[in-house]
């Protein structure tokens, strides 16, 4: 019987010097961040005092006279202001799954999940974006409100490392709670196995209500699709979260049916991500995390 893995593995340092060096080469690039953000490096929908020219608009009393384009005035005899792009930050909301299933197996998926979340946090903090952490299981909690500052990576690492196993996964409730926070539009990174008891439909329903840009990090391992690698014979399978019991005799036909069901789930998640224009990364929890995260970043950039 597989026992929940000890949390000692998650107590081990989630990153080291190489980890930080590797993530420094990565950058999150937002096409345009939401207005009213804090000054940073991301292009914003706000017009402001940035360097990139964006548009003209007629002068109205009260405008800053320094923004008048006098060349246009000489040509046309009308007063226009030159508008520049405002540079603001991209709030990144990390939503790591800490339900019981994440702590099972050896090594537990939660370790890879927290490492991937921390890697993305390091990238965001490195470019002055704010990062907030909202772990969830049967409900969502606030581990860290969105804040910027490169030095916060160490604080985040400690906070993530101190997480304890939660209960049953309830994506719908958790995402509703997250949405209800009314946070400024940013990038929501959901790190989970997405094994919600309601299936992929419940996952899609939960994520569909999020008004942030989405990046889904699906924590997988080879035995998810090929359980015969670790399971054989007549089994009494107990769901570690719900406690549901299923008696199964592993025959080729049963395995075939299982794989078909798994494939439908994975395809459903991929279809949802595609329809939502969300990013989807199937992260093998038994493989190197940074290397797999880096695949998201084409030429070091991941545009959201």
């Amino acid at each position: 019987m597989n026992q929940p893995a000890s949390t000692t593995q998650t107590r081990e340092p989630l990153f080291d010097g190489d980890f930080l060096e590797q993530v420094q080469r990565l950058r999150l690039v937002a096409r345009r961040v939401a207005p009213r953000g804090r000054f940073a490096e991301q292009a914003s929908k706000d017009r402001g005092a940035g360097l990139e020219f964006q548009d003209y608009r007629p002068y109205v009393p009260g405008d800053d006279l320094r923004a008048i384009d006098w060349t246009v005035y000489r040509r046309l005899g009308r007063v226009f202001l030159r508008l520049f792009e405002e540079l603001e930050d991209l709030p990144v909301y990390l939503l790591p799954d800490i339900s019981a299933s994440m702590w099972l197996e050896d090594p537990p998926r939660v370790r890879a999940g927290l490492q991937s979340a921390l890697a993305l946090a390091a990238v965001a903090l490195g470019q002055h974006d704010a990062v907030g952490v909202f772990p969830f299981a049967n409900d969502l909690t606030i581990l860290s409100r969105p804040k910027a500052g490169k030095s916060r990576i160490f604080t985040l690492a400690q906070q993530l490392q101190s997480l304890e196993p939660g209960g049953q996964t309830d994506l719908v409730t958790s995402m509703k709670r997250f949405q209800a926070m009314g946070l400024r539009e940013g990038l929501a990174v959901v790190v989970s196995d997405f094994f919600d008891p309601g299936g992929v439909e419940a996952v899609a329903k939960a994520l569909r209500g999020i008004r942030h840009r989405l990046l889904l990090v699906q924590l997988v391992r080879p035995s998810d699709r090929n359980p015969e690698q670790s399971l054989q014979g007549d089994l009494q399978l107990t769901d570690c979260e719900s406690g549901a019991v299923e008696n199964v005799s592993l025959t080729p036909h049963v395995l075939e049916r299982y794989r078909a069901s798994y494939d439908r789930f994975a395809q459903g998640l991929a279809d949802f991500a595609s329809s939502r224009q969300a990013g989807l990364l199937a992260l093998d929890t038994e493989g190197p995390v940074i290397d797999q995260i880096a695949t998201l970043f084409e030429q070091g950039r991941y545009v959201v």
Binding site: M1, N2, Q3, P4, S101, L104, E105, R109, D193, F195, P197, G199, L231, G233, D234, L235, Q236, L237, T238, D239, C240, E241, S242, A244, V245, E246, N247, V248, S249, T251, P252, H253, V254, L255, E256, R257, Y258, A260, S261, Y262, F265
Partner: protein, 561 residues
């Protein structure tokens, strides 16, 4: 089709039990290994495949159950050993020959093997095995397990008795169910065929399975044993022994408590060694002959017979019958013992003056008392012509020059025979006159006197030779010392049998293997018997294996749990 090991009802009961057990096994809950997994989400679609074996679930896989039941049922059927061609209800009686004739070489072992093989192929409920030793005895009754047969055969050995196959056949014929047709019962004889087919009911089907028909050199064996009168001594006989095979080792001769100091002469030709055991006392003792060697304990290497009794012929000679030549003959003949009291005599020699004797007599008569020179008086049971014919040769009368005697006598010398109360040999006294006739000087006179006295004494003849498998010499009704071949063959077995003298003979003679010709009724060994080819065991086992392969394929493809 029938079953060799089980009856159909029993097989069906067994099939029901198997079906029930399989049903329970299908209903039993599988003992699962408990495993905690991160989710059972994807197993919920696959779990339906495992529910068939849970007790609480309904029986969901009748196809898998039927396939398992078919495999188990066929295996059960294979155990029952069905036979395709079985004669539909035919009863089989297997007779195992246990007579001495089966003792040669390994014939009996081969016969036991054949019986075991045969019993394995016959339907158990309708076959029986009968041991035919000294008396028929049931070895395996109908319905008994075949393993019992092997146990009961293990210690069986041929018995020194004639075959009881004939009796067993008669019993099998008599025990046939009432109204059974000719095909209802088949008798299988393993070993020697019955010697008298006339005893076999004509409507009884029987099959003969000869065993060991190939001639094998199985060592020395006694094939003939007999006696003949000793050459010179009346009270002794010579035993004649024929041994076939072997290395010519001398036989061991025993006479019980009698101290015998005789000699053994040996001649050898054509694979047979003949021994003449000389000087045996003719006193009725039992002669035991045993060959030395490895096979000394087998019936083939030993024989015994009871020697004849040859008591001296007690002769009383009347005063007026005394004659010098007669006296010389009587004294020279070892078979004759002269007694002084006529009451103790077996034969009396009388002169013509004596009244008719109460005992057989050699009587000298006057020429005028009878027209024949020699007149033989015999019992009414004998034919006078046969007696005369016998006397001519046996009494040496053919050696008498009757013509010269007739010239001398001036009348015909005739030989006659007549019926009378007592045996008598009446001879002209004048023939004893040596100055007129040369009878007393001739070689015929001792024969006439000696053989005549023997004929008068009616001594039992010695059977010249007894050989197993040959026709027994039988005495001629008209000639007490003559023999003719009997119609029946001497039994080719050991034991007691009626001798030519009407007495009981004991001998253990095994004939050289010479199958007795059997006219009619001989069936091929395969006729009427279920053969191994009729067994469906092999085909059923192959079918079971094929079904197991199919089940494995279906299991592998997930079509059955």
């Amino acid at each position: 089709m029938s079953l060799a090991q089980l009856s159909w009802p029993l097989w069906l009961v067994g099939l029901g039990v198997v079906a029930g057990l399989l049903f329970l096994l299908q209903r039993l809950r599988v003992r699962h290994r408990a495993v905690v997994v991160i989710t059972t989400l994807f197993w919920q679609e696959a779990k339906e495949e495992a529910r068939a074996r849970t007790l609480v679930e309904r029986f969901r896989h009748p196809l898998a159950y039927l396939l398992a039941l078919l495999v188990a049922g066929l295996a059960w059927l294979a155990f029952a050993d069905p036979i395709w061609r079985d004669g539909q209800g035919t009863r089989y009686t297997v007779l195992l020959d246990g007579s001495a004739a089966m003792a040669r070489a390994d014939r009996f072992d081969a016969a036991k093997d054949a019986v075991e093989d045969l019993a394995g192929r016959l339907p158990r409920g309708r076959s029986e095995v009968i041991w035919c030793g000294s008396a028929p005895q049931t070895l395996l009754a109908p319905g008994e397990d075949r393993s019992l047969l092997a146990m009961r055969l293990a210690n069986l050995q041929p018995e020194a008795t004639p075959s009881s196959i004939g009796r067993a056949i008669a019993m099998a014929a008599a025990s046939r169910p009432m109204g059974a047709d000719s095909s209802g019962t088949v008798v299988v004889v393993v070993g020697e065929a019955p010697e008298d087919q006339a005893d076999v009911p004509s409507d009884l089907r029987w099959v003969h399975l000869p065993v060991g028909t190939d001639e094998v050199d199985d060592g020395a064996r006694i094939v003939a044993l007999g006696v003949s009168p000793a050459d010179q001594v009346w009270g002794q006989v010579d035993a004649l022994l024929t041994v076939r095979g072997g290395d010519g080792q001398a036989p061991q001769v025993g006479l019980g408590d009698v101290d015998w100091k005789g000699t053994v002469l040996r001649t050898q030709n054509a694979g047979e060694t003949q021994y003449q055991i000389r000087g045996l006392p003719a006193d009725g003792a039992v002669l035991h002959v045993r060959l030395a060697g490895d096979s000394a304990q087998s019936l083939a290497s030993q024989a015994h017979l009871r020697l004849p009794k040859r008591a001296p012929i007690r002769v009383w000679v009347a005063e007026d019958a005394r004659d010098g030549a007669l006296q010389q003959v009587l004294q020279a003949d070892s078979a004759i013992e002269q007694v002084a009291d006529p009451a103790q005599a077996d034969v009396v020699v009388l002169g013509s003056a004596q009244a008719p004797a109460k005992r057989p007599a050699l009587r000298w008569v006057a020429t005028e008392d009878q027209p024949q020179a020699i007149l033989l008086q015999h019992e009414a049971e004998l034919d006078s012509q046969d007696v005369l014919r016998y006397a001519l040769g046996e009494f040496g009368l053919d050696r008498i020059d009757a013509t010269e005697m007739a010239q001398t006598a001036g009348q015909a010398i005739e030989l006659g025979a007549q019926v009378g109360d007592q045996r008598e040999v009446r001879v002209w006294r004048s023939l004893l006159a040596s100055d007129r006739y040369g009878l007393v000087e001739s070689r015929a006179f001792p024969l006439l006197v000696g053989r005549g006295l023997r004929w008068l004494a009616q001594q039992a003849p010695v059977v010249p030779y007894v050989a197993a498998g040959r026709r027994l010499p039988m005495p001629l009704a008209s000639d007490a010392s003559g023999f003719a071949p009997a119609e029946d063959l001497l039994p080719t077995v050991a034991g007691s049998f009626a001798g030519p003298d009407g007495g009981a003979w004991e001998a253990s003679l095994l004939a050289p293997w010479d199958p007795i010709p059997w006219a009619g009724g001989v069936a091929s060994p395969a006729d009427g018997l279920p053969t191994q080819h009729g067994s469906l065991f092999t085909w059923i086992v192959l079918l079971v294996l094929a079904l197991l392969g199919l089940e494995w394929i279906l299991f592998g493809s997930g079509r059955i749990p």
